[in-house]
């Protein structure tokens, strides 16, 4: 260890980092869920090709950008909206609200109700994307936490939940 000055990150930076990692992982998980889960696949079928969706925290990000290519493939497009064509934006006003949402102190529905999350784009596609997001949270999170995140925890079979969870964690984490 050299003579480095101790750098105390402000709490905001830690929060930003948490959000960055969480949204990065969720973005990759969405792409994989579109392959392994029939319902998520169907939701993406209802979204047009060459269409990008961003979930974005103001003012400095991070963001989660996913999209469908010209030929209908679901892609994770990274943590920034810069220089990207965005067709639907779901915007969280500030980092504190984003933390409430992504540490599951508040469901997506309630964030909407309290005007902490707002939409810029067509509502039917937003509704489809929220269903995708909910399904991915059910895969990624233990039931006790996912229940706080989604409006209605679904009655999926244990096999569907576990096999999906394993596939998504493996591929999103390792990238296989």
């Amino acid at each position: 260890m050299g003579e480095y000055k101790t750098y105390r990150p402000k709490r905001k930076i830690l929060k930003w980092l948490y959000l960055y990692v969480f949204m990065w992982f969720t973005g990759r998980a969405i792409k994989i869920a579109a392959k392994v889960d029939d319902e998520v696949k169907k939701e993406f079928d209802s979204i047009p090709n060459n269409f990008n969706v961003a979930l974005e925290v103001l003012p400095y990000g991070p963001a989660l950008v996913v999209g469908k290519t010209e030929d209908g493939k679901v892609q994770y497009l990274g943590s920034s909206t810069k220089d990207k064509k965005i067709d639907l934006r779901m915007i969280v006003h500030n980092i504190e609200n984003a933390m409430q949402l992504f540490t599951f102190q508040e469901s997506t529905a309630i964030s909407f109700m309290r005007n902490r999350l707002y939409l810029d784009g067509e509502i039917p596609y937003a509704a489809a994307f929220v269903r995708v997001f909910d399904a991915v949270e059910v895969y990624l999170l233990p039931k006790i936490i996912a229940k706080l995140a989604v409006k209605r925890y679904p009655a999926w079979s244990l096999i569907r939940k576990l096999s999906g969870r394993v596939k998504i964690y493996l591929r999103a984490g390792i990238g296989v």
Binding site: A109, I110, F112, M113, R114, N115, Y118, L119, D120, I123, P124, Y125, A127, A128, V130, R131, K147, V150, K151, R152, Y153, P154, A155, W156
Partner: protein, 416 residues
């Protein structure tokens, strides 16, 4: 009282209501610094003699710039741009809209064009694109129901491209809403019933849905009580001017409630049935209202129970055991629909298979259910409903409301 951690409430529209309020318009215009209003209406409004009433009430004290009653039943982009020519050619400096939702939406679109001195309305589509107040705008609703005079949204169709464009901004709100009993006095019984049930639904849904808050609740409860006390009387005695005025006030109160705490599944399904089958909005509302309560029963039954008081009055409320009140509320609304059905000679539909068009043909077919359910899951109001709404959920409610069966609450999917 239910107190959410956070709530918003905005209602800056001046409301003037009474039996002779139209006569006050010249004074209101003066206060808004306007001299030559353009009066907008549709053919139905003119045919009912309402434009004549408005004209007579104001013409001695204000110079009317122009009157245009060519607004179609479905607001349209081209119509808005045609009207902006009328407005400019006649040197108008204010808008008075006389009519239902479509006339008011058209007026809102027109106000954008003439205030921003623009030609292309699309530049202002979406939320919060307007940055400053628009021209003076007075709304005179002629159906006691929609509450559009208090909403900051306008939907205008681009019929060439088959899309509906949504505009949302606080600057779209009228400066003044005029509630005058003469405007709804000649509304036919069947239409009065349907529009009043739309208002009832605004109040009930705002009371049970997720944006519920004490400010909107107060307005919702008053609205429900006024409608419940007056609706059947007015249907049986259509020239009851006092009852008419109270219904119109109730619709405005309900509008204040729901424009601040949004509606849920009754509107979700109602919008789609309207879109797919062309059923009038109020008819859908009456039919789905009891189902909306049954669908959300497991999550909000204390709120539903509270509604028994304004609906049925203190005696019934006190005589009903606490754990039976929510069910009694639902029963009461079903009975209200039945009474309206009887009082309108069967024209007020109680369930989907009973809705007929002018030629006596059934408007909703079971084969429409798939399309209705598909559109429902993309409707914005579903976000505000207490319970999630997916395709199967919509089908469940549609099947039950086909022939008026109460919803089997055990079949509603709940948090696993």
């Amino acid at each position: 009282m239910y107190l959410p951690e956070y709530c918003e409430f905005l209602s800056p529209v001046q409301i003037a209501s009474g039996h002779h309020v139209l006569e006050k318009i010249p004074g209101f215009l003066k206060a808004l610094n306007a001299k030559r209003p353009l009066i907008l209406a549709d053919k139905g409004v003119t045919a009912a003699g309402l434009i004549g009433i408005v004209e007579d009430a104001i013409k001695d004290n204000v110079q009317i710039g122009a009157i245009d009653d060519d607004v179609p039943p479905d607001s349209d982009l081209k119509v808005v741009s045609r009207l902006s020519d009328v407005y400019r050619k006649n040197n108008c400096d204010a808008i008075i809209a006389v009519g239902g939702g479509s006339v008011l939406d058209t007026a809102k679109g027109l106000n954008i064009l003439v205030s921003e001195d623009a030609d292309n309305l699309m530049e202002f589509a979406g939320a919060n694109k307007l940055k400053r107040p628009l021209k003076p705008f007075i709304a005179i609703p002629t159906t006691a129901g929609t509450g559009s005079e208090l909403t900051m949204a306008a939907v205008i169709a681009d019929h060439d491209n088959f899309i509906k464009i949504l505009f949302g901004s606080r600057f779209l709100l009228p400066d003044i809403a005029i509630i005058d009993s003469r405007m709804t006095l000649t509304l036919p019984a069947f239409f009065t019933a349907a529009t009043a049930m739309d208002a009832m639904t605004h109040a009930v849904e705002s009371y049970i849905c997720l944006q519920k808050n004490p400010l909107s609740d107060a307005h919702a409860l008053s609205a429900i009580s006024l409608i419940s006390k007056n609706l059947l009387n007015v249907i049986r005695k259509p020239d009851d001017q006092e009852g008419r005025l109270l219904l119109a006030k109730a619709a405005t109160l309900a509008g204040m409630a729901f424009s601040n705490s949004t509606v849920g599944i009754v509107h979700t399904l109602g919008h789609s049935v309207g879109g797919v089958c062309g059923v009038p909005h109020g008819t859908c509302m009456s039919i789905f209202l009891p189902y909306g309560l049954e669908y959300n029963y497991h999550l909000v039954n204390p709120f539903i129970a509270e509604l028994l008081f304004p609906l049925a009055g203190p005696e019934v409320y006190a005589d009903t055991p606490e754990n039976k009140r929510a069910e009694k509320t639902i029963e009461y609304i079903r009975q209200l629909n039945q009474d309206l059905h009887d009082a309108t000679g069967g024209r007020h539909a109680r369930f989907l298979s009973e809705i007929l068009n002018r030629d006596g043909e059934q408007m909703v077919k079971k084969s429409h259910f798939d399309a209705i359910a598909r559109i429902s899951i993309g409707d914005g109001t579903k976000f505000y409903n207490p319970e999630e709404i997916d395709y199967d959920d919509s089908m469940l409610v549609l099947e039950a409301s086909w022939d008026g069966r109460p919803l089997n609450r055990n079949l509603v999917k709940k948090n696993a």
